[in-house]
């Protein structure tokens, strides 16, 4: 039996783009156990939201993550609009959806490049990032900024889209489609890629469901789940598209899902631009949002994003809770790393398209009565919640078994 070695990876590490720390227990080259430590990116956004007005929150929440910024801001405004019972004009919804899909295209191209980089295929990184600039130009032109678009406002969007821009986007989609066909060819026919990615980071269908994986990570394990289709928001209810799934269950499958999703995104963007209705782009929103609460779901490029907003009738929300897609996938990563080679670690982590700036929202549950400070473990927390609800008369142990 070889000696066990513990290797810390991060918070600064060449394989990581963001500060996160992994503690890997190795036996030889094999990873026995992986412990993930988050929190380097925790800025306290949820708390800050309570001190700012809804309009300020919109821009703050957009900066949870720079890659899927539109996801967070849309998810938030959807919740606020639901509480305030605002009817967003059709054209506004279409523009929102358009930016969402452009964002997905830029995010997936970005991921493809990063994945190529992690396996030593830097040419792919340079290729995809060059093509990605086409989307960045479109985003800059339609919204005014390359990243962190700031296009949403409560009740609609801030900028209209012109016919010239529509023509430009249509033309760019043709170019990108041509390029993506080439990437699909690389991903599905190039033997080096297939050999490098097959069987790496295996997450079976049952495990994906059990660990609550979302987005392309789950869809590559043939979990047929996509909020855009299951719970249509914005203009997705009027658009026809396929939900891409794959049964490879590994990093190779995740690559295929993402490149094929790119093609679907081009298809969605074309449909949106062909059917975009005329009319206003926003309705006026009150400054004070009436009391209420709402939960909003959104299919971000990385998976399902969930925002919960509670309003108390003032200008500031009482509570904003964010569940970013990476947080749902991070448990799956620890599972995927187990029993794999150390050399596969970067691509396994990269394969979920991690976004730790989204994920880092730690909570310390502290009992003021006790002197000791520390994190409450999940088991304790569960026990505590069961006891607490028993005190309120909700006792599940008395329920009849169905």
């Amino acid at each position: 039996m070889p000696k066990k070695v513990r290797i810390p990876v991060g918070p600064q590490h060449p394989a990581l783009k963001e500060p996160v720390s992994f503690s890997l227990e190795l036996s030889g080259e094999r990873i026995l156990e992986a412990t993930i430590r988050l929190g380097y990116n925790h800025r306290g956004i949820e708390k800050a939201c309570e001190e700012r007005s809804y309009i300020q929150d919109l821009y703050l929440l957009e900066r949870i993550c720079g890659i899927c910024s539109h996801s967070h801001s849309t998810c938030f405004v959807q919740a606020v609009e639901e509480i305030a019972k605002l009817e967003v004009p059709k054209r506004g919804l279409y523009i929102r959806t358009l930016i969402a899909e452009l964002e997905r295209v830029h995010s997936h191209l970005l991921w493809l490049g990063v994945a190529g980089h992690e396996i030593g295929f830097d040419t792919l990184l340079m290729f995809t990032w060059n093509d990605r600039e086409i989307v960045m130009d479109l985003l800059a032109e339609t919204t005014g900024n390359r990243v962190n678009y700031g296009i949403n406002s409560i009740g609609g969007v801030r900028r209209d889209i012109t016919d010239e821009q529509i023509k430009k986007i249509m033309k760019a989609m043709d170019t990108l489609e041509e390029r993506t066909k080439y990437y699909i060819k690389i991903a599905t026919e190039e033997t080096t890629i297939i050999q490098r990615l097959s069987g790496v980071g295996v997450l079976s269908h049952d495990d994906a469901v059990k660990l609550g994986a979302v987005g392309p990570t789950a869809r590559a394990s043939s979990v047929d789940r996509d909020v855009r289709r299951d719970d249509p928001y914005a203009a997705y209810g009027e658009i026809k598209f396929k939900v891409i799934t794959d049964n490879h269950n590994d990093v190779y499958g995740r690559t295929i899902v993402r490149v094929l999703e790119l093609m679907e995104s081009y298809n969605i963007i074309r449909q949106l631009l062909q059917n975009i209705p005329a009319g206003p782009i926003a309705v006026k929103a009150p400054r004070k949002i009436p009391a209420g609460e709402a939960l909003s779901r959104y299919e971000a490029p990385r998976g399902e994003d969930v925002h919960y907003v509670k309003s108390n009738g003032t200008e500031n929300p009482e509570r904003v809770k964010v569940r970013a897609p990476t947080l749902a996938n991070i448990q799956a990563v620890a599972h995927m790393l187990k029993d794999r080679y150390l050399a596969d670690m970067p691509i396994i982590i990269a394969a979920i398209d991690p976004c730790f700036s989204c994920t880092d929202r730690a909570i310390t549950v502290k009992d003021l009565g006790q002197k000791s400070e520390g994190l409450m473990q999940w088991g304790d927390l569960r026990k505590y919640s069961i006891e607490w609800y028993k005190g309120k008369g909700i006792d599940f142990s008395n329920l009849k078994k169905i």
Partner: protein
């Protein structure tokens, strides 16, 4: 200026190797830094090369408002870099805390922790702005 010093300055300004460190940023500046290094903007034509280790780097590109968790790590990384070293604050958050100013877990800017050589404002700082800052930094090195 002696000949050796001239050669050293030439060497330094023609190959500034950079280390990129995310100090709690939202990723926006980070993807713009990578965008600046990829073909459209191609920062490498100035000899700028992205390195993985602080021990190889001359310039530390920091993005983000410095969270309390990362502050000490940032100092440790800075200490590991060989002299002369320069810190560049990329983005409004890194300059002043930006939109996160007032959050309980941040230090409001890189200059609260480390001496900063160049500030690049913008949310996020565009690749063009990053290139501009790098060129200005190199010019000031040449003159000093």
């Amino acid at each position: 200026m002696g000949l050796i010093k001239k050669i050293v300055t030439w060497g330094r300004t023609k190959s500034p190797w950079v280390l990129h460190f995310n100090t709690g940023a939202c990723n926006a500046c980070d993807i713009e830094i990578i965008a600046a290094l990829t073909p459209r903007y191609d920062l490498e034509r100035f000899g700028v090369l992205l390195k993985g280790s602080p021990r190889h780097a001359d310039v530390l590109l920091c993005s983000g408002p410095v969270t309390r968790q990362i502050g000490d790590r940032l100092k440790r990384i800075y200490d590991q870099m060989p002299e002369p070293k320069f810190v560049v604050a990329v983005g409004t958050c890194a300059c002043s805390g930006g939109v996160f100013k007032g959050c309980y877990n941040i230090e409001s800017g890189i200059d609260q922790v480390l001496p900063v050589a160049a500030y690049i404002p913008g949310c996020p700082a565009s690749p063009k702005a990053i290139i501009d800052a790098v060129v200005k930094l190199l010019k000031s090195l040449e003159e000093s």
